[in-house]
Each structure stands twice: as C-alpha cells, then as structure tokens.
Symmetry: C2
Subunit: 334 residues, 2 copies
Amino acid sequence: MASLPILITAGEPAGIGPDCIALAWAADPDLLRGTCICAPAAWLEKRCQQLGLRLPLREVASPQASHDVLNCWNPLPAESITGPVTAGATAAHTAAAVIACIRIAAETCMQQRAGAMVTGPIEKAVLRDAGFSFPGHTEFLAHLAGDSPFVMMLASDALRVALLTTHLAIADVPAALSVQQTLQCLRIVHHDLHERFAIDTPRIAMCGLNPHAGEAGHFGKEEIDILAPAVEQARREGIDVTLPLPADTLFSPAMRTSFDAVVCCYHDQGLIPIKALSFGEAVNITLGLPFIRTSVDHGTALDRAGSGKVSYSSLVAAIEAAKSMSQRSMHASQ
Amino acid sequence: MASLPILITAGEPAGIGPDCIALAWAADPDLLRGTCICAPAAWLEKRCQQLGLRLPLREVASPQASHDVLNCWNPLPAESITGPVTAGATAAHTAAAVIACIRIAAETCMQQRAGAMVTGPIEKAVLRDAGFSFPGHTEFLAHLAGDSPFVMMLASDALRVALLTTHLAIADVPAALSVQQTLQCLRIVHHDLHERFAIDTPRIAMCGLNPHAGEAGHFGKEEIDILAPAVEQARREGIDVTLPLPADTLFSPAMRTSFDAVVCCYHDQGLIPIKALSFGEAVNITLGLPFIRTSVDHGTALDRAGSGKVSYSSLVAAIEAAKSMSQRSMHASQ
C-alpha cells in the first residue's frame, strides 16, 4: 500500500509559508517527498519567480504524494477568485481561500485520503476580519473534528511537552486548571503517545505549577487540590504518570530522558525548556484530533516574505514528524 | 598581596555539607586551595572517619587560606559546646553553632578579612526551632548587612538568571511585581555584573511575565504596567536592558548568548532553563550584599550523609565562582 500524501497548507499567502516550501524544495526535493501542497498553484509560482527559483510544480486534481515533481492540489472550487498576492502585504480577498484550504485539508485527512496535514503560518488578524472566529488553527481544526478535545504538544528529539493551558496570562493560569481537564489531557497524551508515536507503555511526567511543586502546600496548593487527584484517577485507568514534580529539575538531562512526555501547566513552562534545548527543531503537534496535524512553530514573518532570508528548518521538522507519525499510525492500525 | 581566604560554612553538620568538603579534598586538594572552613574541626573530623578518609586538617586561630593542608577555623567562643553530631540525624543542640558560623563568616567578609563566603546547605526546620526567624540564608545575610536589598542569581557557563520573586506560589507572582522592585533589581544586577563579574558594559534582558510577553496586552498587562516602566527608568539611569521579551525564545542559543544576565519574573522561569542547560553546574549567588556570597544549589540530603554517595560538583562550582568574583573585585578596586 502506497503511503497517503502529507498535505501542506501554505497559510497566509503573503507570508513566508510559500517561501519555506519553495526554498526547501530548492535545497533538496527529498525534503518534500511524499507531500502535496494544498493551495492554489499561483501562490507558489509567483513566490518562486520572486525568489528566482524554478520549481517543477504540477497541478493535480486530487491529493497525490510528490516524488520528482512537487504536486500542488488546489482544493478550491473552480469559480473561486483569490485575487493577486503580494509578498509582505496581506489582503482581505485571500482570507476565505486560506480558511477553505485548511478546512478541506482537515476533511481530506478525516476521509483518509491524506495521511496527515502540516500547516504553514496564518495571519490571524486578516482571518478574523473575514469572520474567522477561532483563536487559531488548533481550535478551528478541533471544531471541524466535531469539537474534539485537544492538547498542544511541542516535540523535538530532546523532549516532548504537552500543555494544560496555552495563551493565557500567568495571573489566569491557576484558576484555569481543573481536575477534569488535567485528567482529559493525561488521557489524550497517553492515548496519542501510544497510537501516534507507537510507544508501547508511555511514561508521562506531571509538572507541578508552583516552585518546588508547592513544597507540600507551602507555596500554592494546586498540586494537592488539582494535579495529584487527576494523576491518581489517571493511574487507576492504567496511565503511567508521576505525581507533580518540581519544574526546575524536571528538565535536567537525567530527568527529562526518563519520560516520553511532560505535561506542563502553562505555555512557558513547556516552551522555555524545549526552545532552550531544541530551538528551530521543535514541532507543534495537535493531539486528540482524529487525524495527524503538525505545524511550523513560527509566524508569517511578513517582512521577510520573498526575501530568500528565511529558514525552512521548522517546516522540514514538521513534515518529518507528520510522516513519522503517519507511518507509525499505519503500522499500528494494520 | 596574598589573596584573602574564601570562607566555607559547612551548614547543617548532620547533612552532606561536611561530606562535600571532605570528598572534594580527597579527590583533589587543589579544589579547596585558597579556602578556609569556618566550623568546628570536630564536625569534619568525625565525618572523615566515617568516610574512611584521612584529611590533613589544621585548626587555625584566624581565617587563613588553605594550601597543602585544609585550614579549619572555629569561630565559636571557646566555651561553646556544640555537642555530638551524627550523620543523618539533626540535633537541636547544634543549631546555635550553625547560625553563629554563618553570622561570623559574613562579619569576617564585611571586615575584609575574607574574600567571599560559600555556604553549605542548612536544615531550616532545625534552625527555626532554635529561634532563627529568616526564610533562609539569603535573608539572614541581608539582615546582617543592614537589611541590604538583594537579588538571587543563578549562574553557569551557559547562562545567568536573576529573579524578581523566589519561593512564591504562581498565583501570587503577578501581585508581587512592582515597578520599584523591578527597578531595584535591575540596578543591583547592573551594578554587580560590573563590580563582581568585571563586565564593563553589562547587557541585561528583561524577561516578560506572560506568554509572548503578553502580546501587546492580549495575555496580561504586567509587561505594560510594571516591567516596561521599570526598564525605561533604568535606561534613563544608563542601564542597558531590553524591553520585556518573550520567555520562550529568550533562552534559545542565539538570544541567551546576547546578554550577560536575564532578569526573570519568577523562580521557574529562571531555574528551568539554567537547570536544563547546566544541571549540577549552576551556582547560587546573592547579589546586592556588601560582600561576595555563593552557595551550593542542593539541600542537606540527610539520608546520604556519611554514605560517600554524594556529588561535590556544586560545592566546587560555588568555590570557583566565589574565587573568580573575589579576584575580579580585588582587581576592580585596585
């Protein structure tokens, strides 16, 4: 059985999404082998011209994995007019097409016509102005999957971190934690480490919220009141997870290599160590969805679109992670 | 001019403080060259016997730097009876001596009869029961120095982090931040990077509290209301410090090497990256005091005292940092 293609959405066409695709292919076509770009070919063609690159692009009528030429599947209805794209200058008339490409890519994954989707960066303000009501990609994809609960994970060779809360002020984090949501996160992380990463018996570390994990309640009681009860219930369900551990030592070499993932209470608790250890190599993965989704971990960088001064390493890492998870999931379901 | 000795306080005599000293000397006497133990010699002798080590200990009547033999200066009055010490078993009768050794070491530094002090780990509960009313070493030393404002720094070859708050629940961190205290911290860090670390024009990064440093107020306003105004005032005073930067990317390789220190809002924001990057090599340094003080970054580990299964790497790192800062300060004042 041939591998299903990995769909790549370009994201904001005026941003560096198209640049990353073009530059990666120009550097080594193997980096994009097995993928299929899910976007109007014109978005990529024009950027290639600007960058002085000649890419062997082929427009395909359905998702097909690229080999010697880069397949570009425009999923939009023929009558769609997306209008011109200028590098660095966002435009309201492209917003609907950006949203549609993401939606159709997700649906194609759910129809099992694609093995995974990799998302390029979007410009949220442009989409919001066009009526897009989601905080970002992840929430939109979860909605398309029937309001699926989800967990944001960042993964590199050194570390995998999953987040209980994401873009929230530190002052709002303690009140946002709950036993039920912590338990749900532990279930999703355990399930996806097994199913998506093919880890037979996943070992999960629960990171405390407070310094020294609260030191038995001296500096905060969330470990006692919320995290430990969730851990105890998860253990009853057969999940291998620690009681809340102090954050400062949990990411030291001996500790971090003892676990398959660390569940963190807030954004920077997970992102500080993974970016300190694996900057530019960390991949954003959405767990809990009924399909595989990875993402670049950078923004649209509008000021660098078309400049050629762009690193495609995050895109390549996201593609590699998607391919690897897709193959493991295939094996797991055989 | 001969170098002044670096005083080492053993801390809790039943803990691993004496073990670390004995094992470091046994491994290589050069590791303790220039230091002087500030404690009753009996505390060290008995532990050496238990460990099967023969150390060339010399009791000295005043602080003197060790060379071929390890100098041990007992600063306690002759009539002091500290009582027997058993590895692993704390005892109320040693508390007063532990406190007196720390106090006299600090006073000796302030009298410029010692170049710095390095503190071994104390058992706070034992000292509290004996009437010690300070949260820890640092606050006691600041009190002895006339209620000096101070800043906790952790330093390694990879990174220096200074903390605006320390052992505080995450829920209490936002309310604990203020413009005045942030400004005071920036002044102390700037001053001590110059005076203690001999950095001509220190570059300081201010780390934001919230994810993405609040993203222009979208996830928290402490950056706008507290940190930025403190930075602006510090800049008017000639301090080179950034506006609040996102914590997740600040500790990536390119960013962290651009600064001489990062001022962090809370304990784990600084300790996660330094322990991820430099576990066992980070030194705890108290800035703002009128003398140099470094500390091991571990506890008393009562269960391992006398076992020989103890790493002295943190003590050695603390001694090296104290020596280096002491020499730089001497040069700076010549």
